[in-house]
């Protein structure tokens, strides 16, 4: 199915029903965990539910499997059918639930069974041939796309296998699970054959046109690959924050935010909080939805599941939330005398990377809230520690301390409910400038995320549509904001300012891509700078020295780190990855400088927000590039691996032979040259960095001048 355009399915709505069934073959690994531990405290009702589901599953699966068996002449795994088909139906169930349309789909499945049995044998072969012709035509056009997808598929298989292995490690074998385990392996074996079969399957399913129960129009396999290629769970924290961000600047993964939001709203008074066993099925579904960047449904949320989701996420983080370097120090600090402990702890948290700090802060403040209600919900700090300490990999002492002192250690954390960006063009935009600016920022963040996903190769019509939608909203917001500003400032002071600010981020990327354009861009600002300085003696006084040297601006930075940590962290992290990054945060201090000079608080705030939005946008733009680079790396690696496999170790043999003195000399020279080039590269990076700092500062001066 990976070789087909998603559109094909769209036009054959019946596919969706079948899609989910087939998909489950791939996603079975995630199902494996569902029933690993029969929920001990599982409420009776729930377990009954499960049984029902299973029964239904069996009923449906027979129908589902029979056509496959018939057409599948090559499959050696035929004999294993009853076992291996448990999975498809089970996760088909999941899909149904997730779409909140269980019954419709089930009926549909039954209908399909019936009609398939009737029609299949007579019509199959004829229609298959027809389809094949059509599909060949399409494929010609899709050839390029297919290549991409093949690669993705390869990658998918790899990571799937990895995940499976992880799962296996965790499984505590019980009889039933063993059976499932076997099934998994069988399915795994089958996977490759399935790829071949898939085409056939698809055709079969097209024969019977079942009304689509899936309205989202998002082809599953596309999303699936996104979830597998760039997962949210089990990757370093900063990566999952990038991939699944809250578009309002809180640097924690969306799933944690949602969970905390839910618990803050509905869990504080619940006695189940950080105590009760979660429904494993729901948990798995939620997890998968987040990995796939799909929005969960209210159905999925309950208190134990939200708790367990946080816990699962934390326990799968590859590195301690306190970072490898600082974890030990944190633990040691618990032994310090109480009088100095808080200061030491605060010092350590200050050293944490931004996203680690944000996540830790949110969690601790949230736990603190929970514990404060312990008389109602019986979740004392000790209780929470017991539940969470293993996942966080912290000692009880440390965790207890962090929770108790959450208010003091994380004074900036405020558990605000997340309001996602608008998804469609609303009839009425907010009226206040700050509300618009806020939404604008969210949309920009969303847009850059969509771009990043597309750059990573995940292109679907649905994502295309979202891209246009977000862009339209963004444009409307910009216009509205401008209009609001105009009416608010009749003297038109803010309008020129706006336009300058919009230019700022555009000029900056130009520096990194083409240095040739630099003079053009930077020259107009230089002209005006002098004027700006003259016009604003008091202000110019403050930042005049900065605009040529970085060292000075670095000093200024320090004073503002607290406010712009976000950007700073990105710089620190990205420095090693791509050269253009360091300059992003650099300009941030300047705007802040100017603020105090302005008269109206409203204006100040607005400007800050705008600037923040622009920098954020720039940041995400660069982030998008990093993401695509990362994906490129993965792709190239898999190519290399493939090549190595194909060629065996022929090259290495060659290498050992070639050891003539000339060769060695050449090698030496190349090494030297490379070193020199590397030096050059570094100095260039440095230069870009410096120039951009200067450039941004000049621009801000212009903005200042226009303002006054």
């Amino acid at each position: 199915m990976d070789f087909e355009s998603p559109d094909v399915e769209k036009d054959f709505p019946g596919l969706y029903a079948s899609e989910s069934g087939r998909k489950s073959n791939e996603s079975d690994f995630s199902d494996g965990g569902d029933h690993e531990k029969p929920s001990k405290k599982g409420l009776l009702g729930r377990s009954k539910d499960k049984k029902e589901k299973k029964d239904r599953g069996y009923a449906a699966l027979e129908g589902d499997s029979s056509p496959e068996e018939d057409t599948d002449t090559k499959s050696p795994s035929k004999s294993k059918k009853t076992k291996s088909f448990k999975f498809p139906t089970k996760s088909k169930e999941k899909r149904e639930k997730s779409r909140d349309k269980e019954k419709v789909l089930e009926d549909a499945v039954k209908q399909r069974e019936l009609s398939e049995k009737e029609k299949k044998k007579e019509k199959e072969r004829e229609k298959e041939r027809e389809r094949e012709k059509k599909e060949k035509e399409k494929r010609d056009k899709l050839r390029e796309k297919d290549k991409e997808k093949e690669e993705k598929a390869k990658f998918k298989l790899e990571s799937k296998e990895k995940l499976k292995d992880d799962k296996k490690d965790k499984t505590k074998d019980k009889d039933k699970e063993k059976v499932k385990e076997k099934d998994k392996e069988k399915v795994k074996e089958k996977d490759k054959e399935k790829v071949k079969e898939k085409d056939k399957d698809k055709k079969e399913k097209k024969l019977t046109k079942v009304p689509s129960t899936v309205t989202s129009g998002i082809p599953f396999e596309e999303i699936f690959t996104l979830g597998v290629a760039l997962p949210i769970f089990g990757v370093p924290l900063h990566q999952s924050v990038e991939r699944s961000r809250c578009h309002d600047d809180a640097a924690l993964p969306l799933l944690v935010r949602d969970s905390i939001d839910y618990l803050q709203a509905y869990g504080l008074k619940s006695t189940q909080i950080y105590r009760a066993e979660a429904d494993k099925v729901k948990l798995q579904q939620l997890r998968k939805l987040y990995d796939d960047r799909c929005a969960p449904f209210p159905y999925h949320w309950d208190v134990p599941v939200a708790c367990a989701l946080i816990k699962t996420y934390l326990s799968e983080l590859p590195e301690s939330i306190l970072t490898q370097e600082l974890h030990g120090q944190f633990e040691q600090t618990t032994a310090i005398a109480e009088t100095q402990r808080l200061a030491a702890m605060a010092g350590l948290t200050g050293k944490l990377p931004h996203c680690n700090l944000a996540l830790l802060g949110w969690l601790m403040v949230h736990f603190n809230c929970v514990a404060r209600e312990h008389q109602v919900n019986h979740a004392t700090i000790a209780q929470i520690c017991t539940y969470m300490a293993p996942a966080l990999n912290m000692s009880q002492n440390l965790l207890t301390y962090l929770i108790t002192k959450a208010d003091k250690l994380f004074p900036n954390v405020e558990l605000t409910k997340y309001i996602p960006p608008l998804l469609t063009l609303p009839a009425e935009f907010p009226d206040s400038a700050s509300a618009i600016a806020l939404e604008l920022r969210k949309q920009e963040s969303l847009l850059s995320q969509i771009h990043a996903e597309m750059h990573a190769g995940f292109i679907t019509p649905a994502r295309d549509q979202r891209l246009w939608e977000a862009q339209t909203i963004l444009t409307q917001l910009k216009r509205k904001l401008r209009a609001v500003q105009k009416s608010a400032e009749p003297n038109a002071l803010s309008t020129p300012q706006m336009s300058i600010e919009e230019k700022t981020p555009e000029a900056i990327p130009s520096r990194k891509s083409s240095q040739t354009t630099d003079p053009q861009i930077s020259s107009p600002p230089t002209d005006t700078t002098d004027g700006a300085k003259a016009a604003l003696p008091p202000v110019a006084d403050v930042f005049q020295p900065e605009h040529t040297t970085i060292t000075d601006s670095a000093n200024v930075q320090e004073t503002f780190t607290a406010e712009f940590e976000d950007n700073f962290d990105f710089a620190a992290k990205d420095l090693t990855i791509t050269p253009p990054e360091p300059t992003v945060p650099e300009p941030t201090p300047e705007p802040v400088k100017e603020k105090p000079k302005l008269t109206e608080i409203e204006m100040k705030k607005l400007r800050l927000e705008l600037e923040n939005a622009e920098y954020l946008q720039l940041k995400s733009l660069l982030q998008a590039k990093i993401n695509s680079e990362q994906f490129e790396i993965v792709k190239l690696r898999s190519q290399v691996a493939l090549k190595n496999k194909q060629e065996g170790n022929v090259p290495s043999v060659k290498e050992t032979k070639d050891h003539t003195p000339e060769e060695q000399e050449l090698r030496q020279r190349l090494i030297r040259e490379n070193a020199a080039l590397e030096q050059k590269r570094l100095s260039l990076i440095n230069q870009i960095f410096q120039e951009r700092v200067a450039c941004t500062q000049l621009k801000i001066e212009i903005a200042m001048k226009e303002l006054l």
């Binding site: 355009s5 998603p6 559109d7 094909v8 769209k10 036009d11 399409k138 056009k141 899709l142 390029e144 796309k145 309205t215 129009g217 063009l425 771009h451 597309m454 750059h455 292109i459 019509p461 649905a462 295309d464 549509q465 891209l467 246009w468 862009q471 339209t472 963004l474 444009t475 910009k478 336009s499 919009e502 230019k503 981020p505 555009e506 990327p509 130009s510 891509s513 083409s514 998008a624 590039k625």
Partner: protein, 200 residues
């Protein structure tokens, strides 16, 4: 998207391309809001939506106004893929921008992989005849070579502004119906399907 097409009016996605400062945004804003903005302000990407009546049929047009600057090429590509028709704009006062159309054309053909993609060559700033530096012959010649229509516009005077958008929409529409006929599929679903396949 298929169900959407039946419920909402047909959607045509138009993309403005061309070098910086040729007046893509000016054309777009003139078409959208009947306004002409004097001061130049580079675009990164903007998208507009409007309902118009095209030959008696209500349709929706999505206009994506792209950046002329090369820096945003990466972002642009994401949009090119989903665009259904292109207005390739240059300024008749600026030969460089006319030269650049060649590159934009190639880029579009590369992304869309389709010689017959709805496409109009647009010479903007026709109100500045006295500053004209791209001869009309060269323009029509290039358009003929590409087998696309050539239209001269003025975003300032609104000359031919509606024309270029409506002409392009007509091309897109006829292209879509051709496609659906070619695929002999079902009337409405076939339309969107056939077209999208070529995008991908």
């Amino acid at each position: 998207m298929a169900p959407r097409a039946t419920a909402a009016p047909t959607l045509h996605k138009v993309i403005m391309v061309g070098s910086g400062g040729v007046g893509k945004s000016a054309l777009t804003l003139q078409f959208m809001y009947d306004e002409f903005v004097e001061d130049y302000e580079p675009t990164k990407a903007d998208s507009y939506r409007k309902k118009v009546v095209l030959d008696g049929e209500e349709v929706q047009i999505d206009i994506l106004d792209t950046a002329g600057q090369e820096d945003y090429a990466a972002i642009r590509d994401n949009y090119f893929r989903s665009g259904e028709g292109f207005l390739c704009v240059f300024s008749i006062t600026e030969p460089e921008s006319f030269d650049a159309t060649q590159e934009f054309r190639e880029q579009i053909l590369r992304v869309k992989n389709d010689e017959n993609i709805p496409f109009l060559l647009v010479g903007n700033k026709s109100d500045l005849q006295e500053k004209r530096r791209v001869p009309l012959d060269a323009c029509t010649e290039r358009a003929a070579a590409w087998r696309v229509p050539y239209v001269e516009t003025s975003a300032k005077t609104r000359d031919n502004v509606d024309k270029v958008f409506f002409d392009l929409m007509r091309e897109i529409r006829s292209r879509k119906s051709d496609d659906s006929r070619a695929s002999n599929g079902q009337v409405k679903k076939g339309k969107s399907k056939r077209f999208k396949c070529q995008i991908l």
